[in-house]
Assembly symmetry: C2
Homo-oligomer: 331 residues x 2
């Protein structure tokens, strides 16, 4: 039986969206126990459900809480939830709480996998090619990374793409400011040399921001700062275009009819670009499955995040990564 | 009389687009001399035009040429053009040749303005607010930048926004992975402190990639590597959306009619997002106006790039920046 701990209080939208997410998730899954952590009185509607255990936590960590404050806030739903993972030897945890606090607290308490230099936040992005996703890591767990950390991100990203995304021989690139070998951040350039020297499988060199979503790459390796810039710029431009498209159709009566005639294609665009269906980002390199849901997740987005954690528990992704890293380092 | 030197051979598309650009530009400007550098036999159609001087250069620098190779390629149109700026004491230069080569060669030969630590590439971006642009610098002249360089980018960006964009009191932000003061790259965090300490006018703190184009910021300061990631990601997502929108309208006969009914609004979107009308990026901090046109500029885009150089020569932007930096450092 898979066991997942859910921080019910982290969302911007309060517990209503997380409760909705849990309920929807359990409609289609019965081989899992969800340990739901939060204010007991708010969670009472979950108490009659099978496969749910409610654990009380009185406090809610503010979204902008500093990682160190998080570690001290032992009664917060996030910290109680992380402790529950350890006490119950659960498979993983899902939270939509503040990124910095959640990632730091999970890394510290759940511990890194042996040999991992730094955990990395990974997330699938939609691409120009229908149905195809690209994984980028790190998108924000770190602020700066050494060449050796970037090399390890390549290894973890490859293992993730093979085992979770089902890609046989993923093409791996480094996020850079040019495609030539001598381009890149100082640590990116060094990582390029190291990956080339070890004959990293299907290492394809540098990729520019412009091509990340072209569909060519399966894994894009980046330091946490630049990866975060790339992720958030993508979100920003996507939201700007949605805004422009809405306005274009609202222009006059003709354009409104135009929308009715062509909305099918436009719904496909918004489905493709909707982060809600991707569920959240995963912190790779710790001993448990750690899924960070978007801070403003609605019920559907939060359900997707639980789904992501569940799917990874199902294939025991942690063992696959542990074994893979061991094999890689024995080469 | 304004004097601009034009590298006629740098474009991916060969001299046909640069010739078209020069011709269109001269249709509406007669207070300027253009010194057009390239293969004389290809440029013969310009010889009958007033205000054009043709200077022969036999070689063309490959797009991917290394900056050091560029400096050695003395007979290339780019290097001859840079030399012509010096020999004629021209106001500036426009080229669509390789970015690294052009920026390095211009900085080295035309020299930095006294007191400038590093030149920065600046470009206006469209925003969510109609007609409003935001300037970001550096978008790729450097690979990494010290906190002091970032502080100077803020000063140059502000002077540019005031004098070229006509913004009275520009709001300046630092590109970061979070809005809180403690977020940012190591040099970004330090620059934040320095700008705060000097009470930099209308310094508004950190901005995330998601908000760069929201219309709130007038100037966004970034190290060259992250700025380049942000710029190219923006280009990539914009091109992906154009592709999606075209496909959505092509779906069936109804969506095609839908396009006819709503195309006005969609044309506005593509005009807003079209880099061709912004003309190119400007290298700030050298003694002459240096405009880098897009490598695949067509005639219209190249004309816009000449326009950018012309408009800056008209207000003598170099003197304004020199004086502004002097005043700032005397404070």
């Amino acid at each position: 039986m898979i066991k997942l701990v859910i921080d019910m209080m982290g969302s911007d939208k309060g517990s209503s969206s997380t409760i909705e997410g849990v309920k929807s998730f359990l409609k289609t899954h019965d081989d899992v126990t969800l340990i739901c952590v939060g204010r007991q009185n708010e969670l009472s509607s979950l108490s009659q459900l099978n496969n749910v255990q409610i654990v009380n936590a009185d406090d809610v960590l503010p979204m902008a809480a500093h990682p160190l404050d998080a570690l001290r806030a032992k009664n917060s739903s996030m910290m109680v939830a992380i402790q529950e993972v350890l006490d119950n030897d659960a498979d993983g945890i899902v939270s939509s709480g503040g990124t910095g606090a959640f990632l730091t607290a999970s890394s510290v308490k759940l511990k890194k996998i042996e040999g991992v230099l730094r955990p990395a936040l990974i997330s699938p992005f939609p691409t120009k090619i229908k149905g195809k996703k690209v994984c980028m890591l790190d998108i924000g767990a770190s602020n700066e990374n050494s060449p050796e950390e970037l090399v390890q991100f390549a290894h973890m990203g490859r293992l993730y793409a093979i085992n979770v995304m089902g890609i046989k021989d993923p093409k791996t690139f480094i996020l850079s400011n040019g495609t030539e070998e001598e381009k890149g951040s100082p640590s990116g350039k060094e990582a390029f040399k190291l990956l080339k020297a070890e004959n990293f499988p299907s290492f394809c060199g540098n990729i520019e921001g412009r091509e990340v979503l072209s569909g060519e790459a399966d894994v894009v390796v980046s330091d946490g700062f630049s990866g975060n810039i790339c992720l958030k710029t993508t979100e920003g431009i996507a939201s700007m275009f949605s805004f422009f498209i809405k306005n274009a159709f609202k222009k006059n009566i003709f354009s409104k009819i135009g929308y009715l005639l062509s909305k099918k294609g436009f719904k496909e665009i918004s489905q493709t670009m909707d982060y809600k269906s991707t569920g959240g980002a995963i912190l790779l390199g710790v001993n448990k499955i750690v899924v960070k849901a978007h801070g403003n997740s609605d019920g559907f987005a939060f359900m997707s995040a639980i789904n992501v954690a569940y799917a990874q528990a199902k294939i025991d992704v942690i063992s696959l990564i542990k074994d893979g890293l061991k094999k890689d380092s024995n080469k």
